[in-house]
């Protein structure tokens, strides 16, 4: 391949849509149907979680345990990855490594082409969304069909998932019915969800039966046993990993756990935090390709391990906590911002609070500069996180990185890109006033005396609020007067 043929832009397509965050927000805030779809869905998920985790002693013990499990696995990460590779290889599963999304897509395309694969069925995999695998395979004339019902809907609509667990949460049943009517031959119009699912099932069963390749994600990769674990409810994950003769799994390097015994507590909090289920319908554990005498299962199984910014997160003790994430989605379900703007406004693969702390490493802080600031730091996300990622704190940290002056030590791609001279100036003046008590009191004295000059319009604030009114005298002054009056008595 000549240099000219290489995509000059190794940047994910999501960088552009993340840059458009503000426009996306305006667009989606104006869509009442969308907002009501999200509010309804989030209320439902919040309620489900609450019921499933009603014992706060159990919850807090498990959160602490799961946090420590993930932190241990992260401290040991390079060694666990090597152990995982060794064990998987011994089990007959081939392991591949990719630093970038382009590399990952290339690896997968080459595996498929080497087996003359033409059709792929995909189980739900956010990492494959991260690499935009479907686009890449299509450009190589390989058909790639999403098989998770939500992902299937999103693919038909030519959209991206708006939620990491429930990809089509932004659509209601009427919208899905209209979409099916346009896309499924012989569709019998209905808004009955059972009937909609049955028609989707019929289309997809045919695809499972005939696909050459199954692509899936991984929820936990167990180093000790060389096992790929998948959590799902629909059975499409089992289909993709069982029916076609070639199975390719793709996952981020942070998904490795040390022991098989690490899995039960993580699994328990994952499903309960995500959808309030005690466990998912299926927990699928794959340790080998088809072995001798076995009558089914893929003859070849591959695992692609993707970095894509994860080693950057790893390189800072505080930011490393980002990698504890087990992708339950509870942070977005509880996020007042996500609930308002929905998943697409973020423009990134991973929306919501976790998306705000993951995406800057994947796409750079320059493209994602608006994400860490788009939070009221209310703390709801950190409160529910099953592995206790201090999301608000990491948002603060990314804000710091975003406005860091030039010449600071390199921590992440795009650091300092959010620094504006005007804003930096305001804060330095603010600091100068507030760190000198006399200067501060004098300024406030003048401010309160000149309060008639205060404008009635204060930018974004007064679009929906009245401007606050300065008091005639400051608290400092009134207390001083009060003290003097007391002395005079």
């Amino acid at each position: 391949m000549s240099v000219d043929q290489v995509n000059p832009n190794d940047e994910s397509k999501y960088a552009a849509s993340a840059r458009a965050f503000r426009d996306n927000v305006s667009r989606d805030l104006a869509n009442d149907e969308l907002r009501s779809n999200f509010r309804g869905a989030m209320d439902y998920l919040v309620d489900k979680r609450k019921t499933a985790l009603s014992d706060s002693d159990e919850l807090e013990t498990l959160r602490e345990q799961c946090k420590l499990i993930k932190q241990r696995c992260l401290v040991k990460l390079p060694h666990l990855l090597e152990a995982l590779e060794e064990k998987l290889t011994a089990n007959g599963i081939k392991v591949h490594w990719a630093e970038t999304i382009t590399e990952a897509n290339e690896i997968i395309a080459e595996i498929i082409e080497s087996k003359n694969g033409k059709t792929v069925v995909k189980g739900k995999s956010m990492v494959s969304e991260e690499t935009a695998l479907n686009d890449h395979l299509e450009s190589r004339d390989i058909e790639c069909l999403e098989s998770d019902m939500g992902e299937y809907i999103v693919q038909l609509a030519k959209e991206h998932p708006s939620h990491i667990i429930m990809p089509a949460i932004h659509q209601n049943k009427k919208q899905v019915a209209d979409l099916f009517a346009k896309n499924i031959e012989g569709f019998e119009h209905t808004t009955d969800v059972d009937a909609l699912i049955q028609q989707g099932r019929n289309v997809l069963r045919d695809k499972f039966c005939n696909a050459d390749v199954g692509v899936s994600g991984v929820n936990f990769a167990v180093a000790e046993t060389g096992t790929l674990c998948l959590v799902e409810n629909e059975g499409n994950g089992r289909m993709c990993t069982t029916v076609p003769d070639l199975h390719i799994a793709i996952t981020g390097i942070e998904k490795v756990v040390e022991h098989l015994s690490d899995v039960p507590p993580l699994l328990s909090l994952l499903t309960r935090s995500a959808t309030g289920q005690a466990i998912s319908t299926y927990f699928n554990m794959i340790s080998h390709p088809r072995q001798q005498d076995e009558k089914d299962g893929p003859g070849e199984v591959h695992l692609v391990l993707l970095d894509n910014g994860r080693s950057q997160m790893y390189s800072d003790d505080e930011l490393r906590q980002t990698l504890q994430c087990i992708r339950c989605g509870a942070c977005m379900n509880h996020c007042p911002v996500y609930t308002r703007i929905g998943g697409h406004a973020y423009g990134t693969v991973y929306p919501g609070p976790i998306g705000k702390i993951v995406s800057p490493h994947m796409l750079g802080l320059e493209a994602t500069t608006n994400l860490p600031t788009a939070s009221s730091l209310c703390g709801a996300c950190g409160e529910v996180c099953p592995v206790k990622i201090p999301i608000p704190k990491l948002l603060l940290r990314l804000r710091q990185e975003s406005v860091k002056p030039k010449g600071a030590p390199q921590v992440m791609k795009g650091q300092g890109s959010g620094r504006k001279t005007s804003e930096a100036f305001i804060w330095s003046v603010w600091s100068m006033i507030h760190k000198q008590p006399l200067f501060y009191r004098t300024s406030m004295w003048f401010a309160t005396r000149l309060r008639f000059l205060m404008p009635k319009k204060l930018g974004a604030w007064t679009v929906a609020r009245s401007a606050p009114k300065l008091a005639p005298k400051t608290l400092h002054e009134r207390i001083k007067e009060r003290e003097q009056a007391a002395k005079g008595k």
């Binding site: 345990q65 939500g150 099932r201 039960p264 391990l305």
Partner: protein, 217 residues
């Protein structure tokens, strides 16, 4: 892509070269209250029923009869089952009105048949988990993976004697870490989805019905 491998690993290793594993904090799990066997069994059944599985308590001698009845109630006349498995002979006691098909063929050669012409399948199970209402499938050459996955109705025979309190207990007591099969699956109900407007629908891709034949003697 060995360079990718080396780059990733060396970046990671450079960050933790001084890590002292002995200093890692102790991890403490939650101590669940001990439950009697009957409480565990009740928990197991409640979870499964809440997840829309059908539970039928029976003796081993009744397996053939109950399968016959359940199939008849669904107007199903054929059943796919495993060769040489623990319950093969019990399954074969079903009524002659049911056509019994043994899974004695290679899947790849009979995909269409499995997808389009196999209304029901039956498998045994390795064990079960009370805390989550899960059944552990441990497919073998005799009872292949697709037997419990592709047919729309899945009968699964569970012996209550194999019930464990939790997944963690099970892994530890059966020493799973030493050897896992090609595929092991925890099943906790029929296939389902809530992907359309948070409305639960059963039979998304896997079996629409999970019928648990629970041996409890």
């Amino acid at each position: 892509m060995t360079s990718a491998r080396n780059n990733i690993l060396s970046k990671l290793k450079s960050q933790v070269k001084d890590a002292d594993y002995s200093k890692l904090p102790a991890e403490q799990g939650f101590n669940y209250p001990q439950q009697s066997f009957s409480e565990q069994l009740e928990q197991f059944i409640t979870h499964l029923e809440n997840n829309h599985a059908q539970i039928i308590k029976l003796t081993r001698a009744e397996i053939g009869k109950v399968i016959t009845q359940e199939l008849a109630a669904r107007n199903i006349t054929s059943l796919l089952y495993g060769d040489n498995s623990q319950y093969t002979q019990d399954i074969e006691q079903s009524d002659s009105s049911i056509t019994l098909n043994k899974y004695s063929f290679d899947f790849a050669q009979h995909k269409e048949r499995l997808f389009n012409d196999t209304p029901a399948g039956v498998t045994g199970s390795r064990c079960a988990i009370a805390q989550t209402g899960s059944i552990v499938l441990w497919p073998t050459p005799d009872e292949p993976r697709t037997l419990s996955l592709v047919p729309p109705v899945h009968f699964v025979i569970v012996d209550a004697k194999t019930l464990y309190p939790s997944f963690g207990d099970l892994i530890e007591q059966q020493q799973w870490a030493d050897k896992l099969p090609t595929n092991a699956v925890l099943v906790s109900g029929p296939s389902k989805t809530a992907d359309i407007q948070q409305t639960l629908a059963y039979g998304a891709h896997g079996p629409k019905e999970l019928i648990v034949l629970l041996l409890n003697s």
